[in-house]
């Protein structure tokens, strides 16, 4: 394990970004989101980002192809550029798990080449949590926030950032920046272990840490779908897309055409099941009421996805939707209301 003083982090960031793009939590106009590191950027590693880290692999808007028209001739232009390798720094355990969930959607047949190219080139440097928020409930999904995986795992404790490479990609990155680091000793490891222990204690005491998910099993699909409580849960829903757009695992997208001055640009952008035109087809819309759209989001995360993916829930308990819903309705409340028996 290696270590670097926190006040030298900017040197580390400058070094990494000199050879490759570095994406990390940056504060702009008061809000922290993952963004490209530039000289003078206000890096903030102590708060949860508003949007999740999924943008790096699955951007909110992404060009797919272009059509150029000249008279009756139409040219199809591939706009995929060669993806250069990049470093994604400061990913928390919850967001890291979300990549696995997205992989199960985008990297199964038919493989999404746009996603795959970025996924292969990204080097993920995770950061262990030491100060969870009240909205966190990753432990309900079996995630250890104090020990994230990734190509490199980092810990912040006692004025230092500790750096531990886990994979070949991680080792390659470590080699490139090695000279900025000092070797950590057993004393340092004890410090990290101590911090892990303390954090775990806090995590276990969080209000949503022990929500009971046992009620969400594929065999209860019909029962859950027809639960009468969906009505009261969804009645205040505004139908905005905040929860879906801050969510690390929401993966629905829409493909749209933009008419440029001399052709068409086809792009995809995140879609939200909360929107009235979600999955609208020629015959109309399959979900006409907010209740149905609201139910879709949670049924997808807690029932449909697990039934296709060996029981893995497509929620990671990051708590972003808990914090950002304008009317304070969220997945934790849904789980508590219609989930397992052990929720009071």
């Amino acid at each position: 394990m290696l270590k670097i003083e926190l006040n030298k982090l900017n040197d580390l960031f400058a070094k990494i970004s000199s050879s490759t793009d570095l994406i990390l939590p940056v504060t702009v106009a008061g809000e922290t989101n993952f963004a490209k590191y530039e000289d003078g950027a206000e890096v903030n590693l102590s708060v949860q980002t508003v949007k999740s880290a999924k943008d790096s692999f699955f951007p909110q808007a992404e060009d797919l192809m272009k059509f150029k028209t000249e008279g009756k001739k139409i040219d199809i232009i591939d706009v995929r550029e060669k993806v250069e390798s990049f470093v994604l720094f400061g990913v928390r355990a919850c967001d890291y798990r979300s990549f696995e969930i997205l992989d199960r959607v985008f990297l199964v047949d038919p493989i999404d080449t746009y996603y795959k190219a970025k996924r292969e080139k990204g080097v993920i440097v995770t950061l262990a949590c030491s100060r969870p928020e009240e909205s966190c409930f990753c432990s309900a999904f079996g995630i250890d926030a104090t020990n994230p995986l990734g190509d490199v795992t980092t810990y912040i404790a006692d004025g230092f950032l500790y750096w531990n490479a886990n994979t070949d990609k991680g080792n390659a990155l470590t080699d490139a920046v090695k000279d900025l680091f000092a070797q950590a000793d057993s004393n340092d490891e004890a410090k990290i272990d101590e911090q892990k222990k303390n954090t775990k204690e806090i995590l276990s005491k969080l209000p949503y840490a022990n929500v009971d998910l046992s009620g969400f099993t594929p065999d209860k699909l019909n029962e859950l779908f027809n639960d009468a409580k969906w009505e009261e849960l969804s009645e205040a829903c505004l139908g905005c897309g905040s929860c879906t757009f801050v969510c690390p695992t929401c993966q629905c997208y829409d493909i749209k055409d933009f008419k440029t001055n001399d052709g068409v640009k086809r792009f995809r952008c995140w879609d939200s099941c909360m929107y009235a035109d979600f999955t609208k087809m020629a015959h109309g819309n399959s979900r006409n009421f907010q209740l149905q759209r609201f139910r879709q989001r949670f049924m997808h995360k807690l029932v449909y996805y697990p039934s296709n993916n060996e029981g893995i829930y497509s929620c990671v308990g990051c708590g972003r939707c808990v914090k950002k819903c304008p009317i304070s309705m969220n997945i934790a409340k849904v789980i508590k209301t219609i989930g397992g028996k052990n929720n009071d």
């Binding site: 106009a29 508003v50 505004l238 905005c240 749209k256 309705m329």
Partner: protein, 327 residues
């Protein structure tokens, strides 16, 4: 606060039981004291179980009445002073049926923002306690005390009025502080005094945060179109993302322009923005301009007056003539 909540509960139960109304629109308690959700209550039991009114009931309930219009019977709604302006505006636009609504105007000492509390470096908030001007925040990292006035919602810090403009009855126990409605334009004036380049830089950094979640639009009591132009594939502007930096400007200019003269400055757009974009500064600019060019006008103050954009005088000022020369 507790006293008002009890009075509200008693009133709701009374009106339900004597048959004046068949349902109640209020707030239901969440898990952390600050996460209350608007809700409909149908029975005494439901009200006793989870009805809540505390300093985190900033949500404006008037827009829910548009949806409730379709349901049978009379509904009881609790409205804060500022919410009654939105209500009046909806009446004026024939979006709600006044005859089927029973309004109880409630006392408002200003509502608090959990984001403002967290901005003070307090995290892990699992509960709060209100004692007059002080709020004790219970956190997993220890308790802290903050002053109410420092952690209020932006819309309450620049409250436009403490007067209920529509109500059937009122529940007011303590005196409400006078509001200074002109104070809300100070930040707009500050921006106006900047150079165009500074303003452009300000809005660029603010609007570039926009994730196009549409929360500002969907929460807005003035945005009640059945189909928004931004949802209509025929409009050519139905992009769901800011695929180019032009999009976010187009969206916010058109969104705010569409509510110009109808916006009561309820401040919900800024409250709900997940990226905390000061959207009220866009709406207030229009309000300020209307006041300056066409005379003082407060949308929702009444249900009859003509809106500024559906009226004119022959001597209105010419477009652009008020603007300073220079880049």
């Amino acid at each position: 606060m507790q006293r008002i909540e009890n009075l509200m509960k008693a009133k709701a139960i009374e009106l339900l039981e004597n048959g004046t109304v068949n349902r109640v629109l209020g707030w239901t308690a969440g898990d952390f004291y600050y996460d209350n959700t608007p809700a409909i209550f149908n029975s005494k039991e439901e009200i006793e179980k989870s009805f809540v009114y505390n300093s985190f009931c900033g949500a404006n309930l008037s827009k829910y009445l548009v949806k409730e219009r379709k349901n049978e019977g009379k509904i009881l709604v609790f409205l804060k002073p500022c919410d009654t302006y939105s209500f009046n505006q909806l009446v004026k636009e024939h979006r709600v049926n006044k005859d089927n609504i029973y309004i109880v105007g409630i006392e408002c000492q200003g509502h608090l923002s959990i984001e403002a509390i967290k901005a003070k470096g307090i995290d892990g908030v699992v509960g709060l306690e209100e004692n007059g001007e002080e709020v004790t925040v219970k956190s997993i990292y220890g308790d802290k005390t903050v002053v109410r006035g420092e952690v209020m919602l932006e819309k309450c810090l620049s409250c436009k009025s403490k007067k209920h403009v529509a109500y059937d009855e009122l529940i007011i126990v303590n005196e409400m502080p006078e509001a200074d409605s002109m104070k809300r334009f100070s930040k707009v004036a500050e921006l106006e005094a900047m150079t165009a380049d500074e303003r452009f830089a300000f809005w660029k950094s603010e609007l570039s945060k926009c994730i196009r979640c549409n929360a500002c639009r969907n929460v807005c009591p003035a945005c009640t179109c059945t189909k928004c132009v931004f949802d209509n594939p025929e409009s050519g502007v139905d992009a769901k993302a800011n695929a180019d930096k032009f999009e976010e400007k187009l969206f916010h200019i058109i969104r705010s322009f569409h509510v110009t003269g109808r916006c009561t400055d309820c401040g919900e757009c800024s409250r709900v923005c997940p990226q905390n974009i000061p959207l009220h500064l866009i709406n207030r600019k229009y309000i300020k301009d209307i006041n300056e060019f066409y005379g003082e006008y407060q949308a929702g103050a009444d249900t009859e007056s003509k809106a500024p954009l559906t009226a004119f005088t022959t001597s209105d000022i010419e477009p652009g003539s008020n603007l300073k020369e220079g880049k």
